[in-house]
Symmetry: C2
Subunit: 365 residues, 2 copies
């Protein structure tokens, strides 16, 4: 266990985890705190696992300042299952929901909701290739909408909201926060529901965090399958059935790491530093690298960018990989390049990327 | 990492994993095979993870002899989500499904299916406290049933089918195999669909294995949420969205361990040996320990038993725990005691339990 190789990991998700988290998980793999068992081998009803899940929830509440009238759930199925569940639970029969479409993920969320009932598209950035966010004046909401859905950070197109859209009084704001969850402080009280697949900033794939304002649980219709029923899941403390115990344990370790680091304000400063470094490298390349998103919409987490040709982009990925810079290929749906700079990515890795970009340009520019 | 404590782990699920699996996971935690990443940090679209999931599927196919016309899926949501999904996918509008109810789990599966459509209960063992299985003559199936559902092993009541119920020609047999999956050979060709939460014999909590005969995918209705749609999930190779990567990786290691051990025939012999040992201890106790299930229905995986009083049972659990025998309390819904003897439980642990039972009887009998 003495030495091991580690790379600069720019994967978009699943993605890099903090090294101290992995070291602790490694040390505890066969014997969690003297129990003589791995966390994977413990009953989800044991007092040890209850402490793990309750501590994770408490730490998450502390980090995000989650108000008392919100429930926290650790679910399975990914953010993709939430696309359907939130519509099934929060949109009563006959009602319509408003969707803001700013990239591939909010478009997919819309598609799932359309299958199951009525939706209205309030904004659609597709015609501009998802390079920008809506201006406030462009957003004319339905005052009777069951909810307004948006995606806080589009992982593929790299556009990120800087503040929440202002919705009509009484209409709950529902947000896919998968790819910038825990990257910065959030005022949870502005939201009806926040969901996030853990596999970017919060933990490994296999657990999805849902934060819901309690009064919305009254909307859950009768005869819902229990595993799709927010009320059942929230009231059981995510223990209606066997939860993804190990993924929750790792998430708990990540939350402790975040707290030790100083919480979300401290994390945000680091994330800004890393992303500014990379955007500067793009902007100072004289057009050799071209960012996808308009500057005012730029994400601090995911930076998609292009070069003059696909051949050059392929060469970039290939040479980067040789230099142990991993995961820089753009999403298969848009091509190009993408650097994801999640919480656990060290500043040194962002610096290594910037150095590599400059060097590559000198050699091939 | 030199020494670690391990207990005799009789948990009902999540439950014990093979020690070599945990040791390998531990060694690879920070650097999977020279990639410089944990499996938790790898893209689910990377060639490394594709190899992991494809190898897991190939090994599962080999172990179970899964015919070519079956698809394998690694899903999220637990067996509990399958209770609803199988009904949503396989029972066309207006059709009815037959249910054999032999314990708490098949009763729960029935309940979920009842919410969503028409069911018929072919057998219900509840009046006899779920101590036995139906005789073939008791099973009068609906020849037009969309499917027949049964639970191969009732984890809580400890009754296990020795052979499949014989259903009418053309009616698919659907089976919850969660708690004896991979404990013994199975003729998959008799089934339309088999599902199993991994957290007993196959791996950690957080992944559910579903094996489906391909022709049944034609039944999937229009407008299903993608994450509930067997057709989408099967055709994407479980990669429609981010799968529970680490749970699949551990499952893959367990499957390799099973293969090295000699496959399901070898495993079955060991499981028989362990369970016979414990049943013998019960039968030879002169009524001091009383098995729940009738002898001909006894499970080789889960052995629920009682003692003369709850006080004695509590004392048994307490003293067992002091002797590092863990997880012997019965399910909270039925009380008493339960020993789960899953694949990964060493014969030595079954022996330790038997010794403890004898000793306890001598001291308190
Ligand atoms: C913003 C966003 N939403 C949803 C998803 C889908 O998540 P999952 O794969 O967990 O279903 C992703 C995946 O990358 C994402 O980035
Ligand atoms: C036979 C059986 N079916 C279903 C379940 C429910 O599984 P899950 O918790 O994965 O939903 C269990 C859980 O113990 C079980 O033993
Ligand atoms: Mg993505
Ligand atoms: Mg991950
Ligand atoms: Mg159980
Ligand atoms: Mg487990």
């Amino acid at each position: 266990m003495s030495t091991y190789k580690r790379v600069h990991n720019f994967n978009a998700g699943p993605s890099i985890l903090p090294e101290p988290v992995l070291l602790q998980a490694q040390a505890e793999m066969l014997d969690y705190q003297g129990t003589g068992m791995s966390v994977m081998e413990m009953s989800h009803r044991s007092k040890e696992f209850e402490a793990i899940i309750q501590t994770a929830e408490a730490d998450l509440r502390e980090l995000l300042g989650i108000p008392q009238n919100y429930k926290v759930m650790f679910l399975q199925g990914g953010a993709s299952l939430q696309f359907a569940m939130l519509a099934m639970n929060l949109r009563p029969a006959g009602a319509s929901a408003d969707y803001i479409v700013t990239g591939a993920w909010s478009r997919t969320a819309l598609k799932e909701a359309q299958k199951l009932g009525t939706t209205r598209v309030v904004f659609n950035g597709e015609g501009e290739n998802f390079t920008r966010l809506p201006e406030p004046a462009e957003l004319q909401f339905d005052p009777n909408a069951a909810y307004v859905h948006f995606c806080h950070n589009e992982t593929i197109h790299g556009v990120e909201f800087k503040s929440e859209p202002v919705v009509p009084e009484g209409v709950p704001l529902v947000c896919d926060m998968s790819s910038d969850f825990l990257s910065q402080p959030v005022d949870v009280s502005k939201y009806g529901l926040i969901y996030a697949g853990a596999q970017k900033n919060a933990g490994p794939a296999g657990v999805t965090i849902v934060i819901i304002r309690e009064d919305l649980l009254a909307r859950v219709p009768e005869k819902m399958p229990v595993m799709l029923d927010y009320k059942v899941l929230a009231e059981s403390g995510s223990l209606h059935n066997t939860p993804p115990c190990y993924a929750i344990y790792i998430t708990g370790l990540v939350l402790k790491w975040l707290k030790n680091l100083g919480g979300l304000n401290a994390m945000y400063e680091i994330n800004r530093e890393k992303s500014e470094m990379v955007y500067r490298a793009i902007d100072e390349s004289g057009g050799y690298y071209r960012g996808h998103a308009r500057p005012e919409a730029r994400s601090i987490m995911n930076i998609p960018f292009r070069m003059a040709s696909e051949e050059l982009e392929d060469l970039f990925v290939k040479e980067a990989k040789k230099a142990d810079l991993i995961g820089l290929k753009g999403h298969r749906s848009v091509g190009g390049l993408r650097a994801s700079l999640y919480n656990a990515l060290p500043v040194a890795s962002a610096r290594a990327l910037v150095e590599f970009m400059k060097d590559f340009q000198q050699r091939h520019g």
